[in-house]
């Protein structure tokens, strides 16, 4: 696929989607460092942030190699502007309270586990390798976030209300997991990835059973917010990038 320029563009685009979502999720998570409700949780969130940023590095460095224009992981992370980012809108949503961050993470983790499991049989060797490595981390993230969603959803009256509010505000962003466009179709036809829509049933079941246990009600809305994976972002991403990219923008090439 890498020798055919059109196919290469699809692969590059698809890899950016993987890497950018991990990067932006990781950055958002890192914003909790020093602010989490308890010390144990603070360290756990920082660990997860680092896992996600590590995953972003794997996907983005592969994307840079596929693109073949000499851009590395750092160039892609720090020197692109918002419209070139391909992350899910869900990832860039502000942290809100601890419950909202946790809910965002839970919805994302469940999808990641299902996606990465399918990618283990990709015909692209590097995609298989990255998926195998990251799946181990993501399985722990998913177990942990599901456990906490149940504890807080089925916790006190206040924690329940906050989790239900988080679910309602984030639910419209989950449609984007399953949006399928020509990049996805090209990847699926080449045997490199799966069609996103094929994961929906399993995801709904997986998430539904946890939300049931958490006594949370899945919103009925059919309203969907999408666009992140094609570069149409909410206003939040620009602010996030201003923070994340500041150093490289102000002091190009700075290193330690």
């Amino acid at each position: 696929m890498q020798n055919d320029p059109i196919a290469r563009d699809y692969l590059f685009e698809w890899l950016l989607r993987r890497g950018d979502s991990a990067l932006i999720m990781g950055h958002r998570m890192s914003e909790w460092c020093g602010h989490a409700p308890v010390l144990e949780e603070d360290i756990a969130l920082a660990n997860i942030a680092l896992d996600l940023i590590g995953q972003a590095r794997l996907w983005l460095s592969y994307a840079g190699a596929v693109e073949g224009r000499g851009r590395g992981e750092d160039d892609l992370a720090f020197l692109r502007d918002a419209w070139d980012f391909r992350n899910l809108l869900l990832a860039e949503q502000p942290n809100g309270d601890f419950g909202k961050t946790l809910m965002r993470h839970f919805l994302y983790d469940a999808h990641q586990v299902l996606l990465l499991e399918k990618l283990l049989s990709s015909r692209d060797e590097r995609i298989c390798e990255i998926s195998e490595k990251t799946l181990k981390e993501v399985r722990y993230h998913a177990e942990r976030s599901a456990d906490l969603v149940v504890r807080l959803g089925d916790g006190t009256q206040e924690s329940h209300q906050r989790m239900q509010a988080a679910l309602e505000s984030l639910w419209p962003y989950t449609s984007e997991f399953f949006e399928t466009d020509e990049t996805d179709r090209a990847m699926a036809e080449a045997g490199l990835a799966v069609l996103p829509e094929t994961l929906k049933e399993d995801w709904s079941e997986m998430v539904g059973s946890v939300l049931d246990a958490a006594t949370l009600i899945v919103p009925k809305t059919g309203f969907a917010r999408t666009g992140g994976t094609t570069g149409r972002h909410s206003e939040h991403l620009g602010h996030l990038l201003a923070d994340m990219q500041f150093l490289q923008r102000a002091y190009p090439g700075a290193a330690w």
Binding site: V38, L39, E40, E41, A44, N47, R144, D147, R151
Partner: protein
């Protein structure tokens, strides 16, 4: 009643064949969360292959004030140390 989560003592087995060793403590609402927190707080640098957590309240400790009567008497009884025997190499680490 305190609103703080109970304290747990964390023990980690560094590698197969070694004992679990006390590494520290943490707060958690129950055993399951204590294990998860221990994983995140104490095994970030590949420190272990197994974790035990024990409610700190379940540990009975000797009284530091009793240390003279408890430990002092063994100071001059060198014959209790097995240092008068030559240990064959085949025995390995003891």
């Amino acid at each position: 009643m305190s609103k703080e989560w109970p304290l747990w003592e964390v023990f980690i087995r560094g590698q197969h064949g070694l004992n679990h060793r006390h590494v520290g403590s943490l707060h958690a609402p129950d055993a399951e969360m204590a294990l998860k927190n221990a994983r995140d707080v104490y095994t970030r640098r590949k420190e272990g292959v197994s974790i035990w957590v024990v409610p700190s309240a379940q540990i009975s400790a000797s009284d530091p004030g009793d240390k003279d009567s408890l430990f002092e008497p063994s100071v001059d009884k060198v014959y209790r140390h097995p240092s008068f025997f030559k240990i064959p190499d085949e025995v390995g680490k003891m």
